[in-house]
Structures are given as C-alpha cells and as structure tokens.
Amino acid sequence: MKAFAKSSLGWLCAGLALLVVYNVWHHPDFIKITLHDGHLYGVPVDIFTQGSRTMLLALGMTLVIATGGVDLSVGSVVAIAGAVCALLLNAGHGLVVTITAALGVGALAGVVNGVLVARLALQPIVATLILMVAGRGIAQLICDGQVIVIANRKFDFLANGFIAGIPVAPLLVAGLFLATNVFVRRTAAGLFVEAVGDNETASRFAGLAAARVKGLAYVFCGACAGLAGVLWAANIRAADANRAGENAELDAIFAVVVGGTALTGGRFSILGSFLGALLIQTLATTMYFRGVPPAVAPVPKALVIILVSLLQSEKVRHWAAGLGRSRKAAA
C-alpha cells in the first residue's frame, strides 16, 4: 500500500478519483450503473466502451515509447483498417477474414515504421510522420473519400455488443492488456524493451538484437492500431477514412506519458497507460456533463494535464511528504 502511494500510479489514480468525485458532486448519476435490457448501462460503461479504442492505441504505443520511439501514424492506421473492414465486409467476407485482414494491415504498417526506425535509423517522429500523412491518403483512396456504411450486423457486436451483460469492447481490451502484461513480464520481452529504451548501444553490445526488438514494438503497435480501427468502424458501423482516428495519436501518447512511461524510453507501465487512457475518456465525458462550451473545452483539459503531471512529479510529492512530516512533528 505504501509502495503504491509512493509510485506515480497511485497519484494517477488519485487524480482520476478526484475527477470522478467532482462529477458525482454535480451529477450523482455519474457513477450509476443499472441493468437495462439485460446489460449494464450507465456513464461508467460508456467511458469504458468509448475509451477502449484509446486504450488499445495506448497499449501498442506503450511498448514503442518504451523503446525510445513514438508512433504518430496510429490514427491513420485506424482509418486504413476501418476502410479495409468496410471493403471486405461489404464484399461479403466473414468476420474472421475481415478482422485478420485489418490486423494484418495494421501489422504491415508497423513493419514499415519498424524498418524505417530500426533498420534505417530514421528519427521515429519523422519516420512515422510519413505514414501518418500518407496513410490517411491511402485510407481515403480505399474509401474513395466517402463514409462507407457497413451492413453486417454481426460486426457491430464487437464494439456495441454485450457478453453476459458486460460490453464486449472493454472486455476485449482488458483481456489484451492482461495478456500483454503477462507476456512482457513473464518472458524477458519486457526487459529487452526496457533495455533498448534505456541504452540501445549497451543492449546491442550485450548481444541483444536491438533492432528486431524495436521493429517488433512497432509491429505490435501497428496491430493494436489495426484492431482499434476495427473497433472504430464497428462502433459507428461505418468506415470514415477522412476522420476516423484523427488526433488519436496525441491521445494515445498522452495516456502513455501520464501513465508513467517516459518519452525518452526505458521503464514502462502497461497499467499506467490503461489508467491514462481512462483519464482521457473520463475527462471528455466530464466536458459533456459539465456543459463546457466545446470551443473552450481544451482549457480545463489543459489544467487537468498540468495537475496530474504535478501530482506525479517527484518534487511535489517530496514537498507533500515534507508537509505531512512537519504536521506530524507538530502534533
């Protein structure tokens, strides 16, 4: 418990809790969950469902950032994957083929990024900026600039369906987070990623195929983006090549960094990224609930970012600890 309080995750949770309390203060229904048509219904359910896409992007982004990179192309990959889904489903292909194809396309995008960053040693921001720009064009090309409505109702289930009353998308994402976490912590994969991010030269000299580790991180990130694209399309039952995933990369990076993974690479926290994404979605919902005029909505968002960052800053925690101690001394 004490260790948790000391870790930055504890403070992230505190920030999140503060936000929820603030909402409940104004709208007691904010955390109300009811049973509705045999499934869960309520604001928290929406937050998890709508946040699941950002969470998924943040999951992939975590590993990329931990290797010291960044992937700006995820938003465009979302659009491409969505376009591919629409194309295949409307051509009468089944769900399995479609989802596999979307994942494959995402992974392929990851391969491109990985080659540029790991093999050709381009700076990650620039290397992935290329696909960010071009990828949107590719998606538009596939959709011919139109929003393509997806007729297949089974597809819709992925984003809006329920299993035993629990929404599918968050369930799926939670499962992936767990699986990834188990994978990176139980195998040495996590160690390799952290080592590459901490000191790439040293890890290479110690016999690690550093370029491969980096490349695979991008492939994983691309696949996550591909799956996020599937959810995106399933959520609105349509592929919107022009807008799907727009600015999603910023949200994902934000979630990861707030979650305690430094942009300089090294140590990463998958749980942190999850909480970070949750924070973003809660924040967005808060804006709707508080009726903040959309034009100025960025301002409170900025304030929350600064507040949460400060809470996580070691210096502030040091001060807080100092205050606590002096109060105890006074008592």
């Binding site: 050709l120 381009l122 064009g137 034009a295 970012i305 600064i306 800053s313």
Partner: protein, 320 residues
C-alpha cells in the same frame, strides 16, 4: 558512437540539404512550366513566413533536447488576440503586437518553468499549453475577425524590389528571424549552451552551465517566436482566426528535422531550418503546379516525397 574522427559533420549535412533543395527546385522547374520564376521562389518565403518563424524557434528548443507542441495554438491565439484588440477595441497594432509577444513569451516561460522546476515531460506540458492557447483563442472569438488598420494596409502593400525579386514584409521578417536565430544558435553562449543541454543535460550541469535559466529562456524565446509567427499570420491574411495554425507544430518539427537537426537534441543548424522551409515549400508548390492530384493522392505523394528526401539526405551524409 563509432570511432573515427567525424569532422565538419554538421556543415556536411547542411551542404547536402542545400544540394537536395536546389535539385528539387530544379526538377520542379524542369517538369512544370513557369515554376522557374522569381515570383515562385519568393512565394516560397512569403507563403511560409510564419511557419518558418515558428520553425526557427522550434529549432532552438529542439537544440536543447526539448519539444514544444503549443506553437500552432499560440499562432492561432495571437492571431485572434491581435485582431480582437485592433479591430474590436481600437488598440494600436504596435501595442497589440507587443502585448501578444509578451503573452507568448510568458506562456513559454511558464511551460519552461514547469518543465525545469518540476522535471515534467516537455511533451505533456506543451500539450497542455497547446490546449490552453487554443481554448483561450476560441474563448476570445470562435469566428475569424478582419483587421482594418492603416498599418496593416501599409504592411500588406509593402514591397521591396530587388531587381525582378519582390520581397514582401513577411518574407523579410522571416529572413530577419532566421538571421537572428542563426546568431543566437551559433554565435551566442546561450545558443551553445542549448546544444550542450541537448547533447547531455547532466554533463552540461556538471560543466557548470546555467541549465535551468537556459531551458526556461529557450521556451520563452520560442513562445515569443510563435507569437511573432501569429502576428505575421495576421499580416499575411489581414485578419485574425482562432483556428489558424492547426497542426503547425508537426510541420514545424518536420521542417526542423529536414534541415538536418537531430530531434533528440544537441546537433543541428538554424540555417538548415531555412533550407527545410524551402524544401517544404517546394514540395507544396510542385503539387500545386501539378494540380492533378486528388486529396488522397496528394497525401500519399507528400509522404513519399518526404521519405525519399530523408533517405537521400541520410545516404549522402553517410557516404561522405
């Protein structure tokens, strides 16, 4: 870090970038009739003046190993701020500009202070700065506002003719900012401290360099640069628009990197950024002259050209 003395590496990459820039311009001139004209060349400067000015500020921040995502939003804020003051409240442009520059620098300094004092990630803090500036701009006005003032008329009509070349006020400003940025980056202690900071912050600290003040100062300077870019945007359009400069930060970063500056900090050249602007502008101008690309193909072609350029630059610098 490969052994083997690397000498003049910086200048080499600058020369390579320059060669590519000129080649690109040459190719476009060859393919597109009317491309090779003083007017097009000067448009490259004038059209990209505020992007270029923001990129120069960004170059200095990146020198120091930092990043500033707020510049685009600051451009938008400054633009509507100036327009609101001048058109809505009858404030003289000179005063409005001064206020805008002060605000920009203050925002920058504030972000710098948070980053330095509390050791917060620059990415997050400047992202917050971006939201703050964008929100503040929309709060002033959600719609664009025209600016009517004799100064603006005069500056819009200003035209320095050097033979066949006509330089606008904004193009001149860009050149001036590049020269000043170059002076700061390469001929002032401050600029060298920036590079040292970007190279290794810990070493810079141990070498007795004023790390904290320098870091805060560079964000403040960049904030002022972004505000200046916003002012130039009002000159360019004769109006203020709160959504101006959306996504400008990414363009600025791309330009800085195209100019041969290392994003991780510690290595780069301000003049390279001017070349970056030139290359960026040439690509865009080339696409405009072509005029056949649909929206989707345009994006794909821009991406492909960007990739080709970076790979070429890399191959040439590596070879030496």
């Amino acid at each position: 870090m490969k052994p083997g003395a690397r000498r003049g590496g910086r200048n080499l990459s600058l020369v390579v970038t320059a060669v590519i820039a000129v080649t690109l311009f040459g190719l476009a001139s060859f393919f597109y009739e009317g491309f090779f004209s003083p007017r097009v060349a000067v448009n490259l400067l004038g059209d990209n003046a505020f992007l270029g000015i923001a990129a120069v500020g960004m170059t200095l921040v990146i020198f120091a190993g930092g990043i500033d995502l707020s510049v685009g939003a600051v451009v938008g804020f400054t633009s509507i701020f100036t327009a609101t003051l001048v058109s809505g409240h009858g404030v003289h442009p000179a005063l409005a500009w001064t206020l805008a520059l002060i605000l920009g620098a203050a925002l920058g300094a504030g972000m710098g202070a948070l980053i330095q004092v509390f050791r917060l990630p620059a990415f997050l803090i400047t992202l917050a700065g971006m939201f703050l500036a964008r929100g503040a701009g929309f709060w002033l006005n959600t719609e664009s506002v025209a600016i009517a003032h004799p100064w603006y008329e005069a500056l819009a009509n200003f035209d320095l003719a050097l033979g066949p070349v006509h330089l606008s006020a904004t193009a001149l400003l860009l050149l001036a900012v590049v020269v000043i940025g170059w002076g700061i980056g390469h001929h002032l202690r401050f600029g060298r401290t920036l590079l040292a900071l970007g190279g290794s912050e810990q070493s810079a600290l141990l070498m007795g360099l004023p790390v904290g003040p320098t870091k805060i100062a560079v964000y403040a300077l960049n904030g002022a640069c972004a505000a200046l870019a916003g002012i130039v945007a009002t000159l360019y359009t004769g109006s203020g628009n709160p959504s101006m400069g959306g996504g400008l930060e990414l363009d600025a970063i791309a330009i800085v990197v195209m100019g041969g500056t290392l994003l991780a900090g510690g290595r780069g050249h301000v003049l390279g950024t001017l070349l970056g602007v030139f290359i960026f502008g040439t690509i865009q101008q080339g696409i405009l002259f072509d005029g056949r690309l649909s929206s989707s193909w345009m994006r794909i072609v821009v991406g492909a050209l960007l990739l080709a350029f970076i790979l070429l630059q890399r191959a040439l610098v590596r070879r030496r």
